[in-house]
Symmetry: C2
């Protein structure tokens, strides 16, 4: 989200309103459940209900890891990529990184009295999300620079981790990292146990995602691709330092996703999971490669346990993907039908 | 080298002249020797002579992997980074990627009759390296675009591999990938066997290095950071494609190296190996981190078995690094003294 917001700016108004979408939560265990799963080597897809979707995933992995199969893929080529927002954790009613930005502006308010009369900070501090959104992308850029810039990457990730430890989702009351999808944490572990390497390819800011990717998903920072700010090397008081500038360098969304993968991984993936039209090009490029390829879209169909949204949503809009998935052979996960559990925090 | 050439452009004249520096080669085995080492899990530093240098490396690794040591480093933080040209393989009398560019221009000559009268191609095809160099960086950019652009990353890497299979070093007559340093291939395997993950951080083009990094060093493409061209997502005849544009996007040299590491790995390394002042900032940032850190400079001191060069060399200039290594606690490898073998291709 430094920034997959190019096309998402119109969403900001509704994002910041934090509409109280009803969510039934039944959980009481801790996020440690998912962390144990993320590290398991005998991983299974236990939170996936039996059916065509689960079978399609298991069958693909079986075929591509069986040396006697015509679809066998050498271990060096077993690359699987995953969108984050809406594919590995919840993205409603606003991207988690945007909630972080809002809270950071509030936390830094006392140190920045000029924000009370400077846009877009003044509108944000008044809770006037529509006014923020009306200022367009440069407003968002200013918010990112103010909340993400000037720190080292290490300081920034520590700030995110401290925020995640205390912030709560507006309607579920859960920690955001308790709202990672248990079935997807299982998929990550399932693939890794079978020689696949798992990468996140997110429109979100790369250092934001890195702050929790290892704990939440078992994915190290160098296997997180995301939107990036420019960094600057500086010698501060004689000490070599790398500082985040907050200036947007690369937007890892839409056509940026295959570009980010080519640049960072240098190999076309075998498997891609996404949930929105921002993942379309990533799935299209992945599944256009020779040999066995798997494209999967998570369709948010569960208004009772999570949210139900697709073609008309400002966040995670999924329309072209639904239209073209059958012809392209992509698997569409029906959350309500296919997932026995949703979140990491389960009974 | 798309392009660490900002400061190296003056070198191009001497580079292209391929000065016949005497090199004594005694080898007759194949590059498979180094490939076996790269994959070994019981790796030892057998090509390193006993002495303070070898002991410094072994001692650092022992301390940082011993849970009872105050210098212990958790496995998730065991990141080691390596320059490529002059640190993992030879860089004299010209960067290997530049030799590739020269050969590609010659190979594409018939398809580009306009090059006979267009600079910088005309001068290069006449063998007038000084005239090429005199045209400055834009000439080099044009050469890179013509030889690296327009292909998919997959096509480009295949082109590099085909070239490496037949090209020979002008004075040793070896394949370039036989001129990887056996002691360094041992260091890579030694570190990996002890839980370190190894990354290349090269001024060279990332896809050029990826074409051989797995075979030569056992390093997968996503653990190669290098200078990058811009990529472009395209739908060609209905098929999703990612194309290299040849337009320079990021120069991974000097202060660009810590920036590249922060952006791609998202963690400050524990160990950095380099050989030139282009690696200075990478070593400075690495060793400025808290806890145990190791910086190593390879000093090319062996005119008999390889090359001897440092402060006045146009390629791989090493001056500030030599001056500041003692005060910064960096280990300086004396190739003539410390390495029992030099190249992967040994007796």
């Amino acid at each position: 989200m430094i920034m997959g917001f190019r096309l998402r700016i119109v969403a900001a108004a509704s994002l910041l309103c934090a509409a109280a979408i009803p969510v039934l939560m039944t959980g009481c265990a801790t996020a440690r459940d998912s962390r144990a799963v993320a590290r398991s080597s005998s991983a299974r897809l236990d939170s996936w209900r039996e059916g065509a979707t689960r079978t399609a995933i298991e069958s693909f992995v079986a075929r591509t890891t069986d040396p006697s199969s015509p679809d066998f893929v050498p271990e060096a080529e077993r690359i699987a990529v995953f969108d984050n927002d809406g594919a590995l954790w919840a993205e409603q009613p606003m991207y988690v990184q945007l909630a972080f930005i809002v809270d950071r502006v509030k936390a830094l308010r006392a140190a920045h009295p000029e924000w009370e009369s400077t846009e877009p900070f003044a509108s944000l501090l008044k809770g006037d999300a529509k006014a923020v959104a009306a200022q367009g992308q440069h407003a968002l850029v200013a918010l990112v620079a103010a909340t993400h810039g000037g720190m080292t990457d290490e300081e920034f990730r520590a700030t995110v981790r401290a925020w995640l430890a205390t912030a709560r989702h507006p309607t579920t009351g859960l920690r955001y990292d308790e709202m990672v999808y248990r079935p997807m944490v299982e998929v990550l572990a399932y693939l890794r146990a079978r020689g696949y390497r798992t990468f996140i390819v997110s429109g979100g800011g790369v250092d934001f995602v890195r702050a929790f990717a290892s704990e939440a998903y078992g994915i190290p920072g160098d296997q997180v691709i995301g939107s990036t700010a420019k960094y600057r090397y500086e010698v501060r008081d004689g000490v070599a330092t790398v500082v985040k500038t907050g200036e947007i360098d690369f937007v890892d969304d839409g056509a940026g996703k295959p570009v980010g993968i080519a640049s960072r991984i240098g190999m076309r993936p075998r498997i891609a999971f996404g949930n929105s039209d921002g993942d379309f090009e990533m799935l299209a490029w992945t599944t256009a490669g020779q040999g066995a390829r798997l494209g999967v879209l998570i369709h948010h169909t569960d208004a009772a346990r999570e949210w139900a949204y697709d073609r008309s949503s400002h966040i995670g809009k999924l329309s072209r993907g639904l239209d073209e998935a059958p012809a392209r052979g992509w698997v569409v996960v029906d959350m309500a039908r296919d997932w026995a559990e949703i979140f990491a925090k389960v009974q």
